[in-house]
């Protein structure tokens, strides 16, 4: 069975002009990501992983090479076309959640659909509620962002990333601001989504996380050094259960 290619990079290069110098952030990156994969992209700072993330998220275009998202070539697209692509095909999860302040969970999750003419307000609400239920926050719909813990906020962010039924979820150090326990709770959620068939790309500098994904790509100095399928995926739920009980209970 030929799996669908969700993301394809063909010799993608990205150069930046910094003063009089040219920085080669990406020096010819090529890979394919198939539907349903949970891929971690690893690299230290300076490896080019942020640049790669921006390419994958259609926030930036390659200097040369081609990026095909769900079959659509991105390099020649205008800003507004890329915005539309982001709206329909991509769900972002940021390290610092990036929720709207003083706004309820539902309103936060509805945000991408506000920019999608095909949803009326009723459909928008239904989709947002369903997404929040999928991440286990069905009982906190009207809670405001400042009334939630870090873990809950990240779940809201994940629900927001899911609400438009994207082709791929792009997570940028999604557990970076969370404590160990909460990090595992979030990983449990990611693995659940993976099991449901979601395509996930998780960019991180933390090598531990690679143990929970199905494939790991290592980036260094703008090039891919490793691209290995994980033969022994650990269960985040088990790791969570194995953690010592929280101190304040």
């Amino acid at each position: 069975m030929e799996k669908k290619v969700v993301i394809e990079l063909r010799d993608v290069r990205r150069d930046f002009q910094v003063g009089s110098e040219t920085v080669h952030a990406l020096r010819g990156v090529s890979f394919k990501i198939y539907e349903g994969e949970f891929v971690t992209i690893m690299g230290t700072s300076g490896s080019g992983k942020s640049t790669l993330l921006n390419q994958l998220g259609c926030l930036d275009t390659p200097t040369s090479g081609e990026y095909l998202l769900d079959g659509t070539p991105v390099r020649a697209m205008r800003r507004s076309q890329r915005a539309r692509l982001r709206n329909r095909k991509i769900g972002f999860v940021f390290q610092n959640y990036n929720l709207l302040a003083k706004t309820t969970a539902v309103e936060n999750v509805e945000l991408p659909l506000m920019y999608n003419k095909e949803y009326n307000s009723k459909q928008r609400r239904e989709a947002a509620v369903a997404a929040l239920q999928a991440v286990g926050l069905g009982d906190r719909l009207e809670h405001k962002s400042n009334q939630m813990s870090g873990g809950q906020m990240q779940r809201v962010a994940i629900a927001r990333a899911l609400v438009n039924n994207p082709a791929v979820i792009l997570a940028d150090e999604a557990t970076g601001n969370l404590d160990t326990r909460t990090s595992f709770e979030v990983l449990v959620l990611f693995q659940k989504l993976h099991a449901e068939g979601r395509t996930i790309i998780f960019v991180t500098h933390n090598p531990e996380i690679a143990q929970y994904s199905s494939r790991n790509i290592v980036l260094r100095d703008g090039k891919i050094r490793e691209d290995i399928y994980n033969q022994n995926i650990l269960s985040a739920a088990e790791a969570l259960a194995a953690l010592p009980a929280p101190q304040d209970e």
Binding site: N54, G57, L59, D60, R79, S80, A83, R84, R86, N87, R88, F92, F94, N98, L100, A101, K102, L111, P112, M114, Y115, N116, K117, R160, N164
Partner: protein, 406 residues
Amino acid sequence: MSYINLFKIAIKAILSNKARSFLSMLGIIIGVGAVIVMMAIGQGSKQSIRQELSTMGTNLLTIRPGADMRGGVRLDPSAMQTLKQIDYETILAEAKFVKKVSPEVTTSGQAVFGSNNTTSTCYGESPDYLSIKLWNVEEGTCFTEEDVKKSAKVCVVGKTVVKELFPNGQDPVGKTIRFKNIPFRIIGVLKGKGYNNWGMDQDNVIIAPYTTVMKRLAAQTHFNSIVCSAVTEELSDQAIEDLTSILRRTHKLKDSDEDNFTIRSQQEFMETMSSTMDTITIILVVAAAFSLLVAGIGIMNIMLVSVTERTKEIGLRMSVGARGLDISNQFLIESILISLTGGILGVLFGGLLTWGCNAIIGYPAIIPAWSVIVSFAVCVAIGVGFGYFPAQKAARLDPIEAIRYE
């Protein structure tokens, strides 16, 4: 994004920091309030001047000696002595569109009664004068044609003269006062008129037969002016034409000579005053409008700060698919909403100032309805005009940098 949603986002943003939103509106509130009250004062002044002029008789015509002074200054004193008895008599006999006529001789001086005295002006007129000016005696009577023929030393006085010369409340009718040392018997007291729009006390007058004033007080054989009432206001222009031809004849002017007199109608005067008031109003409003310009700049500044503060939010919106247009519309609508709300509050503020002007200072002020509509339109324009630059700045942010902004 739909406009309703943009509207909701804008309202939320404005309400999230009420103090700052109010401060950014303050310039508009003050500016619009100022414009409204300036227009109201202009309108009110115009209206009250019109009203006053019409109480003086809108069909009033005033003939003065000397040519039209508008072009420059005429220095020939004899030119000021061209109105004479023959003019008056001819007008009385022949003028077709004129109802009543009164020649006028004026002189100022000291009026004395007993130990009281006051400075006043004596107007020498014909008995028709009071009806020309739509005036009446309250007590006693006015002098008659007989008094004119005999140059009788009688007069009617205004209330201010009564107050000054008879402070103890005595009845002035029948008493004899001295004006410039000439004795005058008071036969009537005029109704009160109060101050006119130019600050003159209209009750500080003594009116006597013109013959008496000419002979005994002013020692002149010419009139200072001749006042008449046109049959109707509409016939004022024809009346002026008719009087002009009569006077050219009695002054023996050749066809090539200019008029050595000027005739002005009250209507013309009213129109001049109206247009003067309009000009003054425009100047005041333009001055007030400058404050709106400053207010717009204030809004632009606040919006720029707001954009910078919400850089991360803008980055987030872009990352989930907001286009540049969506972002710029969001801020543009917020800007318009701020200025429009400021406009509404400004109109209310202007209304309050207008009420205060009327009730507390007593100066007439009436808000013209169209000024409110124009104010709103200007506010929207300010919102768009001064919100444009911040909105564009927001739209052009790079989402990658914006998301990482701290």
